[in-house]
């Protein structure tokens, strides 16, 4: 590697850092992303100009093919499909790191130049990258809801055995670099582990998994950087690894669950608590779009609390129309966003931004909670566990201690939902039976459209 390449890599690293810094504010974020892309372009160009590249046919083919597929995926995706796409890209990043480490290790093995350091780094890149690749594909399938398989009994024993085997294969890779067989066995074990670890996780735990896979895709790049002795891979990969870890932690705190609990214990079940009949019988009030419109008509402040149901019903544009109508009448409309609402960090914000709702109206949980008492009407749209007051009141509940949006403190709560079915936590929600709440049963988008129509007729 000559000095120009090294300087180019330094420039790329600086651009990545400045880019991430600018991503922290909506005003500068577009520029930040452009900084990142520019850094990547510089990195690719100086690498191609370096004299360690001898033939270009395959490179050009890979670049063109990858760019075309990436561009099509990025342009075609709907905002509701964003979690799937990010999961898929995470997986591709991890997969690329495995292949890079494997190519280097095979070459070093052929030439008998494998050092203990190269082998150990290749082992790490293989296991992390392979796990990220298959884990992300499973996450992708789960998010698309095309995959419902959640494992088999005794899976944990298989996982632990696999992890032990991975350690053995990793050691063998270092001890005996003459045979790449150990590398491929390690990749295979990593791939199986990815499937086994992610399969049992679902629903509301998805944001944690996606953030974690994001972090791992960065760490796989770091390991590949150690294989190639490449400072840029180490720096850029570490930045991503750290970013994913922080998001993982934020998501865990927002659910009051530890990372090991999310990863290794089955989804919480509602067993033992009060049954749905006890909570709901005779106390649930059903309402109509016309009645909700009457309520909204006299409200001064309205809060909307969206959940995953908003994404499923594609209701973001309908909500925007309702909010505009209300604002024209002088009503204040805000949106309360729980950190784990949806299937990935920030999922709700992206959907509402797509519908051109200003991010200034999207209020974080800690900021909106003290204001619910001054809110006349709160509309809960497709959210359940994140507004369940049981989290505050019942220490034996599976969601006890989880920070929630205190919507029950507002004047009237309108819950738009298809049925009284429980959320991911599997427990009934006393909010639905509270004196100040009423249920508007039906499809989220249709319900909101009907409310808007009824409001126009008043």
């Amino acid at each position: 590697m000559d000095d120009w390449t090294t300087l180019g890599y330094l420039a790329a690293a600086v651009l990545f850092i400045l880019g991430l810094k600018r991503l922290s504010r909506p005003r500068t974020a577009v520029r930040g992303n452009q900084f990142g892309a520019t850094g990547m372009l510089i990195a690719v160009v100086v690498t191609l100009a370096d004299n360690s590249i001898l033939s270009f046919e395959w490179i050009v083919g890979g670049l063109v093919l990858g760019a075309a597929v990436g561009a099509v995926l990025a342009v075609r995706v709907q905002m509701t499909g964003m979690p799937e796409l990010v999961a898929l890209f995470n997986g591709f990043g991890g997969g690329a790191s495995v292949l890079v480490a494997a190519a280097s290790y095979v070459e070093a093995s052929d030439l008998d130049t494998a050092t203990a350091r190269l082998s150990a780094a290749a082992a790490l890149a293989s296991i992390i990258g392979a796990l990220t690749f298959t884990g992300s594909l499973i996450a992708f399938g789960k998010l698309q809801e095309s995959l419902r398989w959640s494992g088999f009994p005794g899976m944990r024993i298989v996982s632990v055995t696999g992890a032990a085997a991975a350690v053995v294969f990793g050691i063998l890779m270092v001890v005996d670099a003459s045979n790449p067989l150990w590398l491929w066995l390690l990749v295979a074990v990593g791939a199986v582990l990815g499937v086994l670890v992610v399969s049992p996780i679902g629903g509301a735990d998805m944001p944690v998994v996606i953030a974690l896979l994001n972090s791992l895709s960065g760490m796989a790049a770091v390991a590949a950087g150690f294989v190639l002795d490449n400072s840029l891979l180490i720096i850029a990969g570490s930045l991503v690894g750290a970013s994913g870890l922080i998001l993982t932690q934020i998501m865990c705190v927002a659910m009051n669950r530890s990372l090991p609990a999310v990863m290794f214990s089955p989804a919480p079940s509602g067993a033992g608590g009060p049954s749905a009949d006890d909570v709901y019988a005779g106390k649930v009030r059903s309402t109509s779009a016309d009645d909700v419109a009457m309520l909204l008509e006299s409200a001064e402040r309205v809060a909307v609390v969206p959940g995953y149901g908003l994404a499923v019903a594609q209701a973001q544009h309908a909500v925007r129309d309702l909010a505009r109508r209300l604002e024209e009448r002088g009503t204040e409309v805000v949106f309360g966003i729980h950190p784990v609402a949806g299937r990935m960090p920030g999922h709700m914000n992206v959907l509402l931004a797509e519908a051109e709702i200003s991010y200034e109206k999207l209020i974080e949980m800690d900021d909106i909670n003290p204001t619910f008492e001054q809110t006349d009407v709160t509309i809960v749209l497709g959210a359940n566990d994140v507004v369940n007051p049981v989290a505050r009141t019942d220490p034996s509940s599976p969601i006890a201690g989880m920070p929630i949006l205190d919507v029950d403190k507002s004047g009237v709560v309108v819950v738009i939902k298809r049925s009284l079915s429980p959320g991911f936590a599997g427990i009934p929600n006393p909010l639905f039976a509270a004196d100040n709440s009423m249920m508007l049963f039906g499809d989220g988008r249709e319900a909101v459209v009907n409310i808007t129509k009824a409001l126009q007729q008043i």
Binding site: G19, L20, K21, S24, P26, R27, A29, V30, N33, G36, A37, G39, M40, A43, V44, T47, L54, S55, W58, G61, G62, G66, V69, G70, V75, V77, Q78, L85, F89, N90, F92, G93, S97, L99, V100, A103, S104, V106, I210, G218, L228, S231, L232, L233, I234, S238, L239, V240, G241, A242, S243, L247, H317, P339, P345, G346, N349, A353, E354, E356
Partner: protein
Amino acid sequence: MDLLVAVTLFVMAVFLGVELITKVPPTLHTPLMSGSNAISGITIVGALVAAGADHRTFTTVLGFAAVTLAMINVVGGFLVTHRMLHMFRPKRRRDSPAGDGRGEVAGES
């Protein structure tokens, strides 16, 4: 590069990453994730070296596959992040639903 230098670089970069990301507001968590994901496509640098090293056909094919996967990650990641961030930009007075004519507002009905 000396191993200790590489490890130092790694640890410093992790700390820097933590400092940078802690300040990102929840509103931007999804674009942050897809943007940082695109940066993790930096492994393309290693992929280019593997695909162009001309060692033997097998490693070249591995390198080719790595270039392809990493490039999907890079191009797709930065593009989709751009699309998302574009929606977060503060709206100007002229409220054109079609953005700035790049046809980026998908699903608008």
